[in-house]
């Protein structure tokens, strides 16, 4: 994973709350077996409306999405993160994320950063008043800036550390392979196994 320290790019105001992952990428787009090629499906239903924000210049080239509360609810599909990243987003800002979405984002180098809803509203106004305004997100300092506006961001320490260092989770865990083996030796033997198939 590429390390993430700061990012500057065009901010996109998405004035919607409860953006579920079915909206981010509908199920019909989930049939691919790769991690790429999902940009077409991003917000597919909304993009058929030509007034939708991502169909407007200069938002089309945006890389920082500023969304309403409860972003990424519903299905666990990581395809939602892949679609956002494929489209060019590096950061999503919201006052509240669904847990699974936030976890998935952190795994893929997409920063899901929380800030207060009042700050989201400020950013929306700013980005709508001057479309194309660039937003800078600094993960080291945990801040978001746009023109004169600055606000603190909340990112959990572990995700922040992994993103700053560009670390791979599995490799981190496998450093503890001995502890895992030790744990396995102590599991009760009556616990179920899937193979061979049991018979009732």
């Amino acid at each position: 994973m590429e390390p993430f320290t700061t990012h500057t790019g065009v901010g996109v105001p998405l004035r919607r709350s409860n953006v579920d992952t079915d909206q981010i990428i509908p199920a019909v787009y989930l049939k691919r077996i790769t991690r790429t090629g999902f940009a077409d499906g991003l917000f597919a239903a909304w993009r058929s409306d030509e007034r939708f924000v991502l169909n407007l210049e200069p938002y089309r080239a945006g890389s920082v999405l500023v969304a309403g509360p409860d972003f990424g609810t519903g299905s666990s599909r990581e395809h939602a993160v892949w679609a956002l990243a494929d489209f060019g987003f590096r950061v999503v800002i919201s006052s509240r994320f669904a847990d699974i979405f936030r976890g998935n984002a952190g795994k893929q180098g997409l920063l899901a950063a929380e800030c207060d809803q009042a700050d989201v509203e400020q950013l929306w106004k700013l980005l709508e008043a001057r479309p194309g305004t660039e937003v800078t997100v600094d993960l080291r300092e945990k801040t978001v800036r746009a023109n004169e506006f600055t606000a603190p961001l909340r990112v959990d320490d572990y995700t922040r550390w992994r993103l700053l260092e560009g670390l791979d989770d599995i490799a981190l865990t496998l450093r503890h392979a001995d502890s895992i083996a030790e744990f396995e030796r102590n599991r009760p033997q009556w616990m179920p196994v899937t193979t061979p198939a049991g018979t009732a």
């Binding site: 919607r16 079915d22 509908p26 199920a27 049939k31 077996i33 502890s179 009556w190 179920p192």
Partner: protein, 467 residues
């Protein structure tokens, strides 16, 4: 101080305590796999030359894409077919047990695990699917994960995780006749909102919960994710043990006794504290339906479509306005006057044998209204076989409903079972998101009883509305 059920299960699975920014490393007892969220994970293993650490704690089934008609023929949609074939290839290569289309044990992943007896109290269960919360009905800590985490579990059988917070959902008193688990959970979500459970494990407690069957408990835990929760749990009791006894993968003989003795300890201590508590009066509940485009937008069937102008919170008002415009509903319309084109009975929420029995009881001797199509999709091939053994298929067919093979089907419309643009459904599934059941489709979430009554009257109804 005492511990909650969730904390007990968590503590029993800590491989390594985290420190500082590093979270706990948690052992995973059972990993369920399906075709949609796994191909990229297996690919990741191949790229890094890693094996599946514990194929014997892993099981796969085909559910999201599978057609529910003509299941002996190859899948017509080539992209769906590729995804299903990729799962078969991956399972063969990595030694994972798979129940493919046509197999007696095939079905929706969250129906298959419990019916095989693989889901047991006190376990940690994960799946690349948010409705993994279903398995919490057994007192397991069960939660959905993304594809990167699927790869992580395949490779290490663990996950790095920060402890979840805990929330008690007390459903006090008794449910009235005709009020079901689905109504309870829709009422809970309407109360706490789609983000109300964020970061929490919900533990459902109280007299009304204790009185529920295992299948009804699964319905409740299934939809915990719709309240934003990581998981839902119910402490195991005699109902749980009776369900598990003699299942294919349940412990036997002396092992059974050892297991039950351990399972009995799995309850929240009297002096344990939850981070949050909610009380619901069971006796005050009635059949619930959703009117909007998220599962928190629900009301009693006797209510009317709400007027957004009367909603004080600006975000909630805007969400309601958008929802009503998408749903094409006018404020003030009695919910009972809303007519539907389609009724869907199925999904991991309400696709089990008790759900089919409840709906069949309503449909017996009645007809699906003209112009309404009703799809009955059992949650697994075992449920289908059990229903046929009881003659339920004949009740559905005689009423004019369609009797299908097992799968996710119209819950998410990845297979050909979809709503057309503008069509409206009463659905026993769990998500009424825009386009969830097909682009432009409109969904009202309901219980199996309401689904069956709605099919007969053609408008949202409960069995009490049928003469």
């Amino acid at each position: 101080m005492g511990r909650t059920l969730a904390e007990k299960v968590w503590d029993a699975h800590v491989v390594r305590r985290g420190s500082g920014a590093e979270p706990d490393l948690l052992y995973i007892d059972l990993h369920l796999v399906h075709e949609v969220t796994s191909p990229q994970a297996f690919d990741g293993l191949r790229l890094s030359g890693r094996p599946v650490r514990r194929p014997d704690l892993t099981i796969a089934t085909e559910d999201h894409n599978v057609p529910t008609l003509d299941i002996d023929a190859p899948i017509a949609d080539p992209v769906s077919r590729t995804q299903v074939e990729t799962l078969r290839k991956n399972c063969a290569e990595f030694g994972v047990r798979l129940h493919p289309m046509g197999d007696d044990e095939q079905g929706i992943v969250h129906v298959v695990g419990p019916q095989l007896g693989l889901t047991q109290p006190g376990m940690t269960v994960v799946c690349g699917d948010s409705h993994t919360s279903t398995h919490g009905a057994f007192g397991a800590l069960a939660f959905g994960i993304g594809t990167s985490e699927v790869e992580h579990v395949l490779a290490t059988q663990t996950l790095p995780l920060r402890p979840f917070r805990t929330m008690a959902i007390n459903v006090d008193g008794r449910l009235r006749p005709g009020v079901t688990a689905k109504d309870v959970i829709l009422a809970v979500i309407a109360r706490i909102g789609t983000g109300g459970g964020q970061g929490h494990v919900l533990e459902y407690r109280g007299e009304a919960i204790r009185a529920l069957s295992m299948e009804a408990r699964m319905t409740i835990c299934n939809m915990s994710i719709e309240a934003g929760a990581r998981a839902g749990m119910i402490a195991p009791d005699e109902t749980t043990f009776a369900y598990l006894r003699d299942r294919a993968h349940a412990p036997r003989g002396a092992d059974w006794d050892t297991a039950v003795a351990y399972w009995r300890e799995l309850c929240t201590d009297p002096d344990a504290a939850f981070d949050a508590e909610v009380h619901i009066d069971a006796a005050a509940l009635s059949p619930y339906v959703t009117w909007g485009t998220n599962p928190g937008q629900g009301l009693p069937l006797s209510a009317s479509v709400p007027d957004p102008a009367r909603i004080a919170d600006e975000n909630a008002r805007q969400a309601a306005e958008k929802a009503l415009s998408y749903m094409d509903l006018a404020p003030g319309t009695p919910l009972r006057d809303i007519s539907v084109d389609t009724v869907f009975l199925g999904s991991c929420t309400n696709g089990r044998i008790e759900d089919l029995r409840a709906a069949a009881e309503v449909l017996r001797g009645r007809k699906v209204a003209p112009g309404v199509r009703m799809l009955v999709v059992p949650g697994s091939m075992r449920v289908r076989a059990a229903a046929e053994a009881e003659g339920l298929d004949r009740v559905f067919l005689a009423a004019g409903a369609e009797w299908r093979s097992a799968g996710c089907s119209m819950c998410l419309g990845m297979n050909p079972d979809q709503l057309r643009p503008g069509e409206r459904s009463a659905s026993t599934s769990n998500r009424n998101f825009e386009g969830r059941q097909g682009k432009g489709g409109r969904t009202h979430l309901v219980s199996p009883l309401v689904a069956a009554a709605t099919a007969v009257r053609g408008t949202l109804s409960s069995p009490d509305d049928l003469s």
